[in-house]
Amino acid sequence: MSKIYGTDENKVKALDNVSFSINKGEFVLIVGSSGSGKSTLLNMIGLLDRPTNGKVFIDETDTTNLTDDKISSFRNKKLGFIFQFSNLLTDLTVLENVLLPREIAGTSDSAEKNAIELLKAVGLDDQINKRANKISGGQAQRVAIARGLINNPSIVLADEPTGNLDSVTSEKIIQLMKLMAKKLNQTFIVVTHDRQHFGDVDRIITIKDGKAFEGNLPSEMGVLA
């Protein structure tokens, strides 16, 4: 797929004929320099924006012609998001934030139990009734991870989830994501500048000038087309 921002003179080709597939349960890193098109790619996979050309398939469903409501439902049930900044709704408590995707889905049976289990797994079961603007940045990212997993999505997408954290906290969040991915056999696609901290991952995709390459070192990069 491709993504072109703007029209005519100030056209930006943010993604240029990118094509790849990711298998269930893979932990994938997307790396590349600033402005290379990583976030754009993640937006397309996350159905937050539509590609100019090409298609995104999730669980074998072509998402190109889905209505806005269908896409919302897709995001709700098949995708989990972790962003760099202020992921949480500050008017709600930690628990309410984690529960929100369930409430939007309208399937709240045993939701609270699941949410508390997830919060326990990310080590925040003692903070559940705190308001979301009263916790630290690292804690907020943990809540976002728990929220991203509550509806048992097919893919969890994260755009620089540690970009806003100090290195000790980053390390913990990264380990947590890897742990959860393994425990739940969960697909993760993570955009990061922080390649080293992730250690071993299943796969690395490098974006350069809107083009995607397999691997993370120029020498070992194979063109993905």
Partner: protein, 395 residues
Amino acid sequence: MEYRLRLAKRMLFNKKGSLIGAVLAVTIGILVIHVNFVIFQGLFDAIVRDISNYRNGDVLITDEEDYIDKSDQALVNWFERIPYVEAATPRLSSTASINMTKFGTLHEETRIPIVGVDPLRDIRASTVHETVSEGQYVFSRNSIVLGSNVARDLGGAQVGDSLKVKIIDRYGQDQIKRLVVTGIAKSPGGQGFDYSVVVHIDTLRDLMNRDGDTGSIMVKLNDPSKASDVKNFFLAAFPNDDFIAETIEESAEEQLAGFRSGIAMINMIGYFGMMSSAFAIVTIQMMLVNGKTREIGVMRSIGATRKDILIIFIFQGMIIGAIGAGVGTAAGLGYTFYAKETKMSFNNSLPLEVSYNWEKIIQTAVLSFILAIIASLYPSYRATKLLPVEAMRTV
């Protein structure tokens, strides 16, 4: 609780300033309408009350021929047999010239309205005798009560003074009689006999040469809501006479028509006030939406549909409307209660006739609630236009 309602409530209550601002806008809109109602409808009703109490009763009987020639005694007795009727009294009116010498100076006033009353019956059917501030009401054939303005124009006439009344009788002849001032009448608001003089009805009949004639019969009911019934009953009972029977609304219509359109205009102004509070809500909610751009993006990214976002902000409009309508109505009722208890008066004179018009009170509350929801539609719609990618924006 429904998560959209909870979110709507939390967002609003966590922004106290916006919440208070929006609620206050609704409250003030409602309060203005209540205050307008208390003052202007109160004034209107006070004038109706005074016209009814002092002059026209609840039902006023006149004759197409200017004068009723049937026995006033017989008509009054007929009325007083009806259980709804408190009392009835005959009256006769004309205009007079009055002159009086005070401290050696002759004062003459012409074209003064003169009213003839039956002293014993009048005090039962009308409260105008209560406006006599000095002396007492007409009690004999040679007593006269002066309106305070007439007394002033006559060089400061006082109780005990004697004066001459001149009337042109039915044959065009001047008839003059000397009378003694027994009282001065002054009513709050001047709706009473402040600009008239009052004499015994038989005195006026003599002067006018209209023995046995009556100008009108003023009928006071113990249940004013039965005015139409009494009127129709009367007209049916005397089909062959040329009587005119009017309820207070009909007999006072001429005096009140202008006032009525004034009230309609004041109400319009009130509703414009409500409209501007709706604009205040639009502004405040737009600010709320703009402050939540990113969070709306987050909600959309985790699956909230456009409709969900729309509902959240319409719920906010409903919350603002409900609280505003509640507080505004409470404040309005508080003001109304205060006005009623303190017998608030207009220009320190005419005591307002304060009432609770529940239909209008509820209508105002419901209207401002609906208006708040309508006002929230645009900001809510704008919120649905925010894209989920907003959540990703790095700054």
